[in-house]
Symmetry: D2
């Protein structure tokens, strides 16, 4: 038996970078959580503790903050690409870099009907995400969001399913459907209007969720993914992970009350979990796009 | 020594009540987390395990869901008052009831420019709260919100403070000020337009946070509380708890970069914590309003 | 109407102080979360932004770390008393200080049967707590823990309860009882063997939970509190807050299986919540002991 | 362009199964969080909402609870294998099943020196995990734990690292090293003494963490993984993900105090994150072992 070191990466996780643009009295804010990871010839660090090739995670942190100033944050995808290109291009032993970014949304405060120049409140529940990988094989960008909490109070059914000896569920043709959606999408190019595309993806997904008469959460996910790939040429693949956040109709009959889909208990656990990938069958290979973590997935 | 039972209460915490109003095709949603607590002659339950006077917490849960149907949820204050009055008025041994409610906000989805009839996304980070107490001494309503995350990128100073031998902080006349505000306000009446008042309180607080040139978070809190008590006659007291969520300017000078208030690191812990009460000096006594929890506060 | 500033306090929350004692090769670790709060003549800071009397929260943080070195951390109660006495005694405008501390438990690693000198793993789920208040009226110490998760698989009943038109619960004479206990206890003195007393309180509470044939969680809490006040002379009051973490028997009869108390689903929400105070009727008044937070409780 | 459905799976997540063994007065407890996922011909459910092949997630939940009774829970690996074999073997359209399980640890209460028959407290911070996959290609078992929080107060260095223009970190030859370890290990067989092996892996990892004079967290991880693969024949691969939970030495010199590695501030974010795989170079291929989630990794 020969014991060997396999895949590995290291970096600085969750750098909370906040960038204020104050060139005019009307400020802008970018509020990020940035994680960097390096890939390269790090075997000696593991095997004998030799750090010769190891750029400290503290240096990676410094770089993330310095780039927030020198390059700026027009979009998280563009900023992430700049960081990844720097690590691979400018720091000699590094052969691959993966940058994962979350962006928290803020809404400008409105005072007496006027947008305020330098005050915001945090908005929404969803967090925009990006994962950028650069190595000798190319440049890969994944966009996404997580925790988009969405609910429809009708227009959802679940019936005609497989039954076995452990099945007790009743069919339904009108239920609440709710999820906290995680979506990731793969770009075929790095020449994209990142911010406009993000808005469009979100808009398409909400539209499909709302308007489809859903026979299953699976069907809804397919329609969401399919529409995005269909309508946005730069996106060739969508991955979706959707908890089915159950809202159970409460039985009020012991109290002499009818409950035609009006009173529900929102349940925490367990929940259904549906995961799927939708892709353009003619898309180029994904390469390093989806290798999120060297060690554990 | 005589060991005695002191204050006590019991109830059902965190009933996740979701109410859909579907009288027309345009549905409405109310998404609540309801906690009930009973006060009364429960000594025998503690001392000898005699449940004669104990309305099960399961029954309290059933009641919360039944009232969501029979009474409805026009506002959390009104629904909470109905529940509290029921427990005290209709269930013989109960002498006091406290109902604490959180309401999660949803925003109607907009599809092709039109508001959708039955689809929503969760909005904002703040949660509206209410605490209603009813007993023989009267009826008390506390309104509030928690987790209103708000930030201003300028218009905040901190200087001229007390120094001792442990002081190393530098003065500043331009900093980021951010908090995740918890606010509670006491009503002098139960005859209030609850939903309109909630919107107005939130609007006033954001206005004061944004427009005051702040010399300290303390001063900002005072202005927020004072304006609410001043402008809304039904509110006679405001309590505020505000973490000072530090955003530290990052020193970019080792990298040849200036940083005139543009790049910050958002820090998790420790944080400042400022708490204050603002009240109308002529207000009636608070009575049972603020006794949140029998055991621990 | 005269709008006035009421109760207020401010400080630095959640200073993560880790103290290693390395006087010998066998190190010791103290891992704390320290929150400081000052009370005094801070009206000008709120009303006009005048910081003359305001010791910065940053200075409070520095002091907490400096005292971890100069005074050390023999127990969190003793360290907290030293901090509170310093703020009130040494810093002129401060008239009251409240120090709240959490301590995280670590267990020494055992390697080949021998305790290791300088390696530990985090142990248990419960966190030891203390709240110390010093002002002109005296010195007050509250000990405690939170999140002590404890379960018994039999020896718990619930029957004979009050029923009304919303009651559907069945009686039971054998159920799982589980809680995540929060306990706080008031000392009548500041001359106490703090660490030994903490161990003894925990031991007594677990003993009472385990050995009482419980007719209600209320009864169990009473026995836990009563035994502590009875057996530990320095403790004159105990406050308990106990979620009733429901474990529901799963109905396996549709699958031809009996389930005599063997398979349960652990439920998240809602949960019962029982809160009570047990005290020595001859105890001195609590004074400032329980005033946890100026603004919100 | 032809848009197609790619990888997909669905199931019921986080079934909180609690199993009490009460064959004798001395009860046993198994406290699990069980997630099931099915793979198979589910295209019609996505594309046209046809559920003919879809075993409801509710049925999967029922099965998990029924198996806790009928098969029992000797170890999470054995119970998970039974569940996975059932879904693939007994339910016609299902072609693959993945079962992920977390087990929460409980310690028997000791009352007056004697272990109690039916009372426990939750112990430790680490959660044991397993992931079992069964399909036509074979049976795959991954063991593991997460959140093993471990710290050493000396015996850790970091020096000799790569420097670039963004490097400001100083070298150190004595620091605190702490992590919250996630580990997963692949078994080459399903004929294993699962519980004994789990204890042994944990023991080996703690031993290596404690006793190695560490030149980098990377080196520590390598030694932990290597020792497990070396000493336990059934394990052919280990994957480790280790946050470097920074403990920064606090500068007490402004207060006239020395701090030779005694007072630290524990930092939340950012943190280093080191991930690595260690494997037996002669091991059989991993097959489906590591495909955790169809959609997102």
């Amino acid at each position: 038996m020969a014991i060997i070191l396999g895949d590995n990466q290291y970096g600085k996780a969750e750098n909370r970078v906040v960038r204020i643009v104050r060139d005019t009295a009307r400020h802008e804010i970018h509020d990020l959580n940035v994680t960097t990871a390096m890939r390269g010839p790090f075997g000696p660090a593991y095997l004998v503790g030799d750090q010769t090739n190891v750029l400290p995670t503290d240096t990676q942190k410094n770089t993330a903050f310095a780039y927030a100033k020198s390059v700026g944050i027009e979009s998280i995808e563009k900023y992430g690409l700049a960081l990844a290109r720097h690590f691979v291009g400018d720091v000699e032993p590094i052969v691959g870099a993966r940058i994962e970014i979350e962006e928290f949304a803020w809404t400008r405060a409105v005072i007496d009907g006027v947008e305020h120049d330098h005050t915001w409140t945090r908005s929404g529940t969803e967090t925009r995400t990006a994962a950028i990988t650069v190595d000798a094989s190319g440049e890969y960008v994944i966009g996404g969001f997580k925790d988009l909490v969405i609910l429809k109070s009708t227009g959802s059914e679940f019936a005609g399913f497989l039954e076995d000896e452990y099945t007790t569920l009743a069919e339904t043709h009108d239920r609440v459907m709710a999820t906290s959606l995680v979506a990731k999408w793969r770009f075929a190019s790095v020449d994209v209007d990142w911010n406009a595309t993000y808005s469009k993806v979100k808009q398409i997904m909400i539209r499909e969720f709302a308007t489809l008469q859903s026979l299953a959460l699976q069907q809804t996910l397919w329609h969401m993914g399919r529409a995005v790939v269909d309508e946005i040429p730069e996106i060739v693949e969508v991955r979706l992970s959707a908890p089915n956040k159950h809202h159970f109709v409460v039985d009020l009959s012991p109290f002499g009350l009818e409950n035609p889909g009006e009173v529900f208990i929102a349940s925490d656990r367990p929940y259904g979990l549906i995961e799927a990938q939708v892709l353009d069958g003619t898309a180029p290979p994904a390469g390093e796009s989806w290798r999120f973590s060297a060690g554990l997935a």
